[in-house]
C-alpha cells in the first residue's frame, strides 16, 4: 500500500481549517494537490492528508498584475486556459506540453508542482525565469518571489501555497524555454529558460535560468550581464552561451555527466536566446 500509516484524508472547507490541521499535526500532516509525489513517496511519517479541493483554488485569471493561477489548478487546466495562449508567445503552454503525459498533467496541481521543488522541474525553471510570485498563507497572506521559496524552505513550514502569479510584461518582452531529455516526455537532463525585455532593441532586463544541472533552477546573472544594454545578435548570443558554459555549476548524476550538461547549457542558452530574438524581431515588424 502506498502510504501505510495514513489514517485520515480530510477535505476542509476553509483555508484556516486546512492550515490549523497542518500546524497542529506538524510533519505528520501534508497538504495534497494532485498527490502524484505523495502517493509514490510511501512515507511512514504521513498520517493525515489535507485536500484543498473544496477551497475554490482552481482558476486561471487575468488580473491587472498578470496571470493568477490557483493552487489546485491542474497542469491540464493551465494548458487549456485561453489567457495563456498569448502570454509571452505561449511559452507557458509550450513548456507544460512537455511535462509528463496527459494522464499526469490531469492530476498534477500548480501548488504541488511548485512545493515539491524537483530539481529538474520544467515548471520551476521557466517560472523562476519569468519572475513568478507565489502567495503563501500561514495565518496571514503574503506574496513572495518564487525563487525565495527555494532559498528558504522555512517559508513553507507551515504555510499553504494558494496562488502563483505570472507578472504582466509590456510589449518588447519575449521568453523561451528549452528542455533536453531522452524523449520529449522524460524528465529533463537539463532545462533552460529566458525572459528578455528590450528598449529600442537593446536588452534592458535579462533573466536566464538553468535547471536539472542537476540542481534546482538557478538564475545565471553572469550570462545576463553579457547581454545587458546590447542587441541580440549572433555575436552577443554566442558570447552569452560561452559564458553559460563557463560559469554554470553542473555535476554528474545518473542522468548525465557534468561535461555533457556543460554542452547542454551552452546549446540551451543559445537556442533560447535565438528563439527570443526571433520573437522580438517578429513583434517589431
Amino acid at each position: 500500500m502506498a502510504l501505510s500509516n495514513l489514517r485520515e484524508y480530510v477535505r476542509p472547507d476553509g483555508l484556516d481549517m486546512a492550515l490549523s490541521l497542518v500546524k497542529e499535526k506538524g510533519r505528520s500532516a501534508r497538504v495534497i494537490g494532485g498527490g502524484i509525489d505523495l502517493v509514490r513517496s510511501s512515507s511512514p511519517d504521513i498520517e493525515t492528508l489535507v485536500d484543498l479541493s473544496q477551497l475554490s483554488l482552481s482558476y486561471v485569471r487575468q488580473t491587472d498584475k498578470g496571470i493568477a493561477i490557483g493552487a489546485t489548478t491542474t497542469l491540464t487546466e493551465i494548458v487549456e486556459a485561453p489567457v495563456l495562449n498569448n502570454y509571452l508567445q505561449g511559452v507557458v503552454v509550450e513548456m507544460l506540453r512537455q511535462v509528463g503525459a496527459p494522464s499526469l498533467r490531469n492530476l498534477a496541481s500548480m501548488g504541488g508542482t511548485l512545493a515539491s521543488a524537483h530539481p529538474w522541474s520544467d515548471v520551476i525553471t521557466l517560472f523562476v525565469a519569468l519572475g513568478a510570485q507565489v502567495t503563501l498563507y500561514n495565518g496571514v497572506t503574503r506574496m513572495v518571489p518564487l525563487s525565495d521559496l527555494y532559498a528558504s524552505r522555512a517559508l513553507l513550514s507551515p504555510a499553504i501555497i494558494t496562488e502563483a502569479l505570472l507578472p504582466a510584461y509590456a510589449h518588447g518582452t519575449a521568453a523561451a524555454f528549452m528542455k533536453f531529455s531522452r524523449t520529449k516526455f522524460d524528465i529533463a537532463i537539463l532545462n533552460c529558460a529566458c525572459l528578455i525585455s528590450t528598449q529600442n532593441g537593446d536588452c534592458e532586463s535579462v533573466r536566464l535560468t538553468a535547471g536539472g544541472t542537476p540542481q534546482l533552477a538557478a538564475l545565471l546573472p553572469e550570462v545576463a550581464e553579457v547581454l545587458l544594454g546590447r542587441k541580440l545578435s549572433q555575436t552577443s548570443i554566442g558570447q552569452a552561451a560561452e559564458m553559460a558554459r563557463e560559469t554554470t555549476l553542473v555535476r554528474n548524476d545518473l542522468r548525465a555527466s557534468g561535461n555533457y550538461r556543460r554542452e547542454l547549457v551552452y546549446a540551451g542558452v543559445k537556442r533560447c536566446l535565438t528563439c527570443v530574438s526571433t520573437h522580438l524581431s517578429g513583434a517589431s515588424q
Binding site: A2, L3, Y9, G35, I36, P102, S103, L107
Partner: protein, 160 residues
Amino acid sequence: MRICLTVNGKKQELDSTPGDTLLHLLRRIGYKGVKKGCESGDCGACAVLLDGRVVNSCLVLAAKADGHCVTTVEGLAGQEKTGELHPVQEAFLEQGAVQCGYCSPGMMIAAVDLLAHNPNPTDQEIKEGISGNLCRCTGYVKQIEAIRIAAKKMRKSADV
C-alpha cells in the same frame, strides 16, 4: 472508511482505507481491465477516466476520488446499453492494434480522452495523447493508425 464512486455510470458505496489507491480499489471490486503495471505513473496500464479525463489510477488515492465519476475500459462498450463496442475499441480490433493486450485498456482510455477533446488530431497529437502509455509489443504504429481511424468514425457519426 466509506467512499462513494460512480463507476461506469453505476453509483456505489465502497469500503476503503485512507492509503488505498484507486487502482487497487477498482481491481478489488472486479474491474480487472484496469491493469497494474509500474505503480509509479510511468506505464499507463492503469489509466481510467476520472470525471472524463485520463489519469493513472495508481497515483490517485481512492479517498481523493470520493464523490467523482470513474470510467474504466469495461465502461467504454455499450455506453447506451446497445452492447456495441466504442469506436476506439472497434478500430483497435480492426487494425490489429492488440498483441498481448496488457497496455490496451490504458491506451484506449487515453485515446478516448484525446478524441473527446480533439476530434481531429494530427499523428503528432495522437502520439502526445498516448505518450503516457507504454507498449512492449506493437511498436505503436497500429495503435496510432487505429486512433486515427476511430477519430474518423467518431467525426462521421457526429455529422449524421
